[in-house]
């Protein structure tokens, strides 16, 4: 243990700060820098940084090349908070999509975005998680109940509904905007 204040050295008052000291980047900032620099995107994904100086908010674009959603283009917004990686980033789907695990407001039901988030996970983990949602929509834990029911009862109809929605059109009473590549 060091003795911190020798009494003779009643420091502080009038002490001139050492030159060159300068605000450090926050731990969240350092961590996101590492995450972003190590993004290893599958070929179906791309990112967009509206402001490259701000690594805390960006968009992920997924263009699935197989499965129900082949040919679509889906945009997700990522917002990384000051408590990252203690808390997960906030992710929203900005493209209207007919999907059992994404609701019409863009909320995404992916376990690692909420209850199963751990600080060891990275932005890359989330990217793969989202990509998987398009390959294997999961009707067991639905956010869009109607879509989940259709997927469970009749995959053909589900497939038709997905492509109807992606081309731009009504599924049931809801109008989806076109999101084909």
């Amino acid at each position: 243990m060091i003795k911190l204040f020798s009494l003779k050295q009643a420091k502080k008052d009038g002490e001139s700060p050492k030159a060159g000291t300068q605000k450090k980047a926050s731990a969240a900032q350092l961590r996101i820098t590492k995450d972003i620099n190590e993004l290893n995107l599958p070929k179906t994904c791309g990112t967009e940084f509206p402001d490259p100086d701000d690594l805390l908010s960006f968009k992920l674009i997924i263009c699935p090349d197989e499965g129900f959603y082949r040919g679509g283009r889906f945009v997700f917004s990522f917002k990384v908070g000051p408590n990252y990686p203690h808390e997960p980033p906030k992710v929203k789907c900005e493209t209207q999509v007919y999907h059992p695990n994404i609701d019409l407001e863009g909320n995404v039901c992916l376990n690692i975005l909420r209850e199963d988030w751990k600080p060891v996970l990275t932005i890359n983990s989330i990217v793969y998680g989202l990509q998987y949602l398009f390959l294997e929509p999961n009707p067991e834990d639905p956010l869009n109940k109607d879509a989940a029911e259709v997927l469970q009862n009749n995959r053909r109809v589900f497939e038709q509904n997905v492509s109807k929605a992606m081309r731009g059109g009504y599924v049931g009473s809801f109008f989806f905007e076109r999101c084909l590549k």
């Binding site: 050492k18 980047a25 820098t33 407001e105 909420r114 209850e115 834990d141």
Partner: protein, 440 residues
């Protein structure tokens, strides 16, 4: 301190500080100077004037500390009054820091508490540098991480060794119901908040699909309204404000409807408030015990009369009283405190960014592969270059041909470099070997 009165007032401290004893640190020298330092020179910062903060201010002031600053961004609420004893009913709506400071100054003669009614983030390095010790009574992990990072950024290194006079110890207390903890952090020397970040439990979250489709608990209904219904209907055209009764009422009504729909019992207004504001139960006696421990540690640090807590004490009063102390270890690769900035010498300020990147790849002690570089210039993050992310690469490519000067990189600026060859982002401090006088 001549008069009989002051002599009697501080005689209990004199017994500890002017005599030796079996528990004293070997380097402790009994002296009347120590009490004088404590009362006249030692400058403390108390962060938070809530449950812990009120206790801390009272303890420290009665212990003889006189130069105390307190900072808190909150105002007094009715529900605080049962345990935050520096506040009265008439104070509701006023700044906690201001009221607390006024109360202590009126009650403890000679004490000079200075209040700051703002966020800790509103203050700069010069502000924090003036203190000898920082004591925290916070309820937020973000705030703890921020002050931790701030104190670490104030460290001065000479040849890789910390200048001890730049170390500002942080004593941190935390409580939740009948449980609490107190710890002593010597920034750069012992485990910091970031070293032990995984100690904090994750926030309780429920799977979105459960909330949306199969709610079983009243909490599920409240979360549903909060996460899904509010953004959709946006009843007041703004984000949820947990302190606005209209907002809470709206959520309460909608959540009650939903609970009725699913036959869920137990939804109350108070529960809605608790879930929306993430209220953690507060128990006055836990706050008192933890604050007392923190204040004792401040006293020990300020006077060196006794070895400090090493370094993490837990208190659990749920069944009987249980307490345990252990040494939290410093993490070798801690993002905050393991970063002894390495200097990197820049021989020519007209170097281009690509020359610097080349150097990072060639230097035998770095040997990086595809470094991504950011810098913190005037408190703002600037992305200099990132090779691996196409969209950033395209936007930052032109920086490669710019000189370091043109990019705003001066002597002493720290670069944050991420590369596959290191587990964490590394901090490198630029050192221009010929400091151009005209530049300054």
């Amino acid at each position: 301190m001549g008069s009989d009165h002051t002599h009697r007032r501080w005689s209990h401290l004199q017994k500890v500080l002017e005599r030796s004893g079996p528990f004293c640190r070997p380097d402790f020298e009994p002296s009347s100077e120590t009490l004088k330092f404590l009362m006249e020179n030692c400058k403390l910062l108390v962060i938070g004037a809530g449950g812990l903060g009120c206790e801390l201010l009272k303890d420290l002031a009665l212990m003889g500390f006189r130069q105390i600053h307190v900072i808190d961004m909150d105002t007094v609420e009715l529900s605080n009054l049962n345990r935050q004893f520096l506040f009265r009913h008439k104070d509701i709506g006023s700044s906690k820091a201001e009221i607390a400071a006024k109360f202590i100054n009126a009650r403890v003669s000679g004490c000079n508490v200075v209040s700051h009614f703002c966020k800790i983030q509103d203050k700069d390095e010069a502000f924090y540098r003036q203190f000898h010790i920082v004591v925290c009574g916070l309820d937020s992990i973000v705030a703890r991480r921020w002050i931790n990072g701030m104190l670490i950024s104030l460290l001065v290194y000479e040849d890789g060794e910390i200048d001890p006079s730049s170390v500002i110890p942080m004593v941190d207390g935390g409580t939740e119901g009948f449980k609490g903890n107190a710890r002593v952090i010597l920034p750069g020397l012992s485990a910091c908040i970031e070293c032990t970040l995984d100690l904090y439990p994750p926030q309780v979250t429920f799977p979105l699909c459960t909330i949306a489709n199969t709610p079983r608990l009243p909490e599920h209904c409240i979360e549903y309204v909060k996460v899904i219904q509010w953004p959709k209907e946006n009843p007041f055209d703004c984000a949820i404000d947990g302190d606005d009764p209209q907002h809470i009422n709206w959520i309460y009504e909608k959540a009650t409807e939903r609970a009725a729909q699913f036959g869920i019992q137990g939804l109350t207004y108070r529960l809605v408030q608790g879930v929306v504001k993430h209220i953690i139960p507060a128990v006055a006696s836990t706050n008192a015990a933890i604050a007392a421990s923190c204040a004792t540690e401040v006293f020990k640090l300020a006077t060196s009369c006794c070895a400090s807590l090493n370094n993490y004490m837990v208190l659990n009063n749920i069944e009987g009283i249980y307490t345990y102390t252990y040494e939290a270890e410093k993490k070798d690769d801690c993002l905050a405190c393991s970063q002894v900035p390495r200097e990197i010498e820049i021989k020519d300020p007209n170097w281009k960014l690509k020359d610097l990147i080349e150097l990072l790849c060639e230097r035998s002690d770095l040997q990086m592969k595809n470094p991504g570089l950011t810098a913190n210039i005037n408190g703002k993050n600037k992305t200099l270059y990132m090779h691996t992310v196409q969209s950033i690469e395209e936007k930052t490519r032109e920086n490669l041909q710019k000189t370091l000067q043109d990019l705003g990189l001066r002597d002493g600026i720290e670069l944050n470099v991420a590369d596959v060859t290191t587990p964490n982002t590394v901090t490198l401090k630029l050192k221009f070997s010929q400091t151009d006088v005209e530049m300054l």
